[in-house]
Amino acid sequence: MAQSNSLKASVPAYLKEAQLIKQGAEARVYRATFLGRPVVIKERFTKLYRHPEVDEKLTRRRTTQEVRSILRCRRAGINAPVVYFVDYTTHCIFLEDIVQSVSVRDHIASGQTPQHLQALVEKIGEVLAQMHDEDVIHGDLTTSNMLLIPGAEHQHIHLVMIDFGLSYISALPEDKGVDLYVLEKAFLSTHPKTETLFERLLKSYSASSKKSPAVIKKLDEVRLRGRKRSMVG
């Protein structure tokens, strides 16, 4: 056990040579090269506030889930970064670096035409429908977790889904409904006055998914649950 402790304590060589580009709540993201290719290394670091067993089990589970969901998406033809390597001792995932991309969040915030926004949300709806039809629940849908490769034509919006750390596999409409609910809340709180735009996203989702009626029904139920919470236990 002493050996694995020292493995965790020392920073792996590849991280020492990498360039830190972002520190989130759960992971640090670095830029590096791996086998001659540009990669992004996502390192899930230890959260000191958690009991060590909670931390270890949770971190390992999230790393595994992330990789599994990305692979499942890719097999179904949904755009997600290529996974090159996973280091389970340090909880690092080596992913394809989506160069010159911008997050959908930043893209919307930088000001776009209404027509472009409409086309964008329709594309998002389509991609989410594909993902849910594969029974992949993202678990943390926000506009920061969708990347846009700009410069593409109006009809060819190139969207890449990232950050599958909270994802899991489920066929239940309830889970898909909650997934959309998480996006709705994140979308509306980040981008003010976009209710109609989000409606369009959902319409596109419904049109693209074979299993959507049950999911939308569950979404409506979950929305109500939030508003009319019973305070009695």
Binding site: K47, Y49, V178, V182, S189, V222, K228, R229, M231, G233
Partner: protein, 335 residues
């Protein structure tokens, strides 16, 4: 100079508090405690409140050294909470307001917690974790609303703790959560429990049913002690709460955390949140049990803010409601 009296009784605590321009003049309270293994029901809770509220009201005035004429406004909890207790307290507030000829003000219970936390700690613009038996929300102020960034999609964390306490028959005196906290300190073995975070939200009903089941199985075969279960439950629940708070902080770019609500008294939760804050270079704010736990002064404080910015509740509008979202109120007293 503005003096506001606040009446609070949305759950099993009945409190009356008086605030004068940010100074807490009095804050007496009583708690309805049920025998181990039993929760508190609305009808009996209301009966308890009815039996003590006038005594507590008199105490509040006496401790503050004030008479009814000195009061400028009567604030009460409009909701959310349990129906019968809320009605009991509202009836007294309405009667007293009419007797004394003072304006009435219906206050949102959650906002009461937030405003009291802000007053006591002087936190400027914190991410608020509001955790109690009835509520679990992560709130941040933005453009005249206390916006809910994350919350429980089923039961509150305090409710999860209270119901677990019932299963293993932990005493409800002074509160089940307090006793779980003391037992947890003696726990040594960690039992893995379901951990459920969905985006910015959390879910507790799964972990509750799991641990209720585990309690029966593992305690009867002596695989672990009740202390171990308390310890494991706290570590898991609180890690989930710290995680969603941290996500909200990252989302909002916030450097302050304020913990309010009864579960906020828990020192382990405060400790864990403190470690998370230290890692981010953020500050943590918390209050002691006189203000964490439901009390009258917090309603008075929120009422004071509302009254000073021009709010008043007409008698016809002084109903109560069990369901009252924190973001429904327009926070006109902040910019």
């Amino acid at each position: 100079m503005t003096v506001v009296i606040g009446f609070e009784g949305s759950a099993n605590k009945i409190g009356v508090g008086i605030i004068r321009d940010g100074e807490v003049l009095s804050n007496p309270r009583r708690t309805y405690i049920t025998p181990p293994g039993q929760g508190f029901l609305p009808g009996e809770t209301a009966k308890h409140h009815r039996s003590v509220i006038l005594t507590v009201l008199q105490e509040a005035l006496d401790e503050a050294g004030l008479k009814s004429a000195d009061i400028d406004c009567v604030a009460y909890t409009k909701g959310p909470g349990m129906g019968a207790p809320l009605v009991t307290v509202a009836v007294v507030a309405r009667t007293v307001a009419q007797l004394w000829g003072k304006p009435l003000l219906g206050v949102n219970h959650c906002i009461g917690h937030i405003e009291m936390g802000r007053l006591i700690t002087n936190a400027q613009n914190p991410t608020v974790l509001y955790v109690s038996g009835g509520n679990t929300q992560v709130i941040a102020y933005s453009e005249r609303r206390y916006r809910i960034f994350g919350e429980t999609i089923d039961i509150a964390v305090g409710n999860c703790l209270d119901r677990f306490a019932r299963v293993i028959k932990i005493s409800n005196d002074p509160s089940p959560g307090y006793n779980i906290e003391q037992m947890a300190k003696k726990g040594t073995k960690f039992i893995e429990l379901p951990y459920t975070v969905k985006g910015m939200d959390v879910s507790f009903s799964g972990i509750l049913s799991y641990i209720e089941d585990a309690a029966h199985k593992m305690l009867s075969t002596s695989q672990c002690t009740p202390e171990d279960l308390c310890f494991s439950l706290q570590e898991t629940l609180f890690a989930m709460l710290v995680e969603i708070t941290e996500r909200a902080m990252a989302h909002c770019g916030s450097q302050e955390v304020l913990i309010v609500g009864g579960v906020g008294c828990n020192m382990r939760l405060q400790e864990m949140m403190g470690v998370m804050c230290k890692e981010r270079g953020a500050r943590i704010f918390a209050t002691d049990e006189s203000f964490c736990i439901d009390n009258g002064a917090m309603i008075a404080q929120a009422g004071w803010e509302m009254f000073r910015s021009g709010h008043v509740t007409e008698l016809l509008d002084s109903w109560i409601t069990q369901r009252y979202r924190t973001d429904e109120v327009e926070v006109t007293w902040r910019d």
